[in-house]
């Protein structure tokens, strides 16, 4: 699969490394080149400086041929907007979006976006750990 990841923070970098070692073709975008230091040294994919809200940058990242798009920047709204661009403008078949705010996550999942809220997931995990 060809996968575009927006945001090279801890999660983005780790995900890029995992997908890359699974043999996928990975392109990771970040506005700050310094964040690419987080990528594993044996990363064979492409790291590209650019803003995932900018359609030109997305095109440069090959969004038009991408099979999947993942938005994991720090900003919920940025993730939401980029994911919607990928889904509705570039018709990427599979898009996944991280939204910290559980209420916003709920809303956008009812609007048909595939979303994950680390807040909800992690709170549940902690509860299970403590209660179980």
């Amino acid at each position: 699969m060809k996968i575009v990841i927006m945001g090279c923070g801890r999660v983005g970098a780790q995900l890029a490394g995992l997908l890359d070692s699974d043999g996928h073709s990975v392109i990771i975008l970040d506005t700050d080149a310094y964040s690419f230091r987080r990528l594993p040294p044996d990363f064979k994919g492409t790291a590209l400086v650019g803003n995932g809200l900018d359609q030109e940058a997305l095109k440069r990242a090959g969004i038009e041929e991408a099979d999947a798009f993942v938005a994991v920047t720090q900003g919920d709204n940025r993730n939401v907007m980029a994911t919607q661009i990928a889904k509705h403008i570039f018709r990427v078949p599979r898009v996944v979006c991280r939204i910290y705010d559980p209420l916003r996550q709920e809303l956008y999942s009812t609007l048909g976006l595939e979303t994950l809220s680390p807040t909800t997931i992690f709170a549940q995990m902690l509860r299970e750990r403590l209660e179980g």
Binding site: G75, M81, Q84, D101, L107, T110
Partner: protein
């Protein structure tokens, strides 16, 4: 009308001031405490500190009964989300977003925002208007009809110079609304109005025909019919 304004920067402040003067009920949501304080000192307690993208704060200010939400923060993504939350969670009938990156106009429209105002484009147009050689200025777009009101300056070398309005091969659906000849009073042109060099023409056209209209009024061409 009850209107929720998201973003209490300069734009949010002046917009709210104008809306309040028109007698509307306005609440401003602004994240920054200092900005909130300034607005409340100036306009009376209309500003509430909070993130206009968050459901909790939108519920608190009664967004459900708002007839309009206007998002004017400096970040396109925040304006998009504020409008989408208002629209889908609170069923606000009309949402207006300010956008900075003109590219996003298409995106926002596709994503269901009712009206977008591109501050960058608006400023660009106004500046270009003041450049004397600027060939075509957009004065207004009537978006739901796909119509544009434009101003075109007629250069001396244009084939339109010396022609009457009826002799111009105007594109379909285009109307000339006004012809302004130098310092004279603007005239509503008739079929016999003469087009002269340096005239300014205000025309109503569709977005698709704009280029053709520009060629008709500014380009060189030969009359479509023999001796017109």
């Amino acid at each position: 009308m009850y209107i929720v304004v998201v973003g209490g920067g300069r734009l949010g402040y002046y917009l709210s001031k104008a809306l309040l003067n028109e007698g509307h009920e306005v609440v401003i949501l602004e994240k920054n405490a200092t900005f909130c304080q300034i607005i409340n000192d100036e306009l009376g307690g209309v500003c509430i500190q909070g993130d206009g993208c968050e459901t909790a704060i939108l519920t608190k200010v009664g967004t459900g009964r708002a007839e309009m939400l206007i998002a004017v923060t400096g970040d396109d993504e925040d304006n998009l989300v504020a409008c989408q939350v208002a629209k889908h969670k609170f069923m606000v009938p009309r949402t207006i977003a300010r956008i900075r990156n003109p590219q996003n106009e298409v995106v926002f429209k596709e994503l269901g925002i009712d009206v977008t105002v591109s501050s960058t484009n608006v400023i660009l147009e106004h500046i270009q208007e003041e450049v004397p050689t600027h060939p075509l200025t957009h004065l207004l777009s009537i978006r739901d009809q796909g119509l544009e009101v434009v101003e075109i300056k007629i250069p001396a070398e244009s084939s339109a110079v010396g022609k009457r309005v009826k002799e111009l091969p105007l594109p379909k659906g285009t109307r000339l609304a006004l012809v302004i000849h130098q310092a004279q009073k603007p005239k509503v042109p008739s079929a016999d109005t003469l087009i002269r060099a340096e005239d300014r023409v205000i025309a109503i056209t569709s977005s698709e025909m704009e280029e053709e209209l520009r060629n008709t009024l500014r380009g060189t061409w030969t009359s479509p019919q023999t001796d017109g």
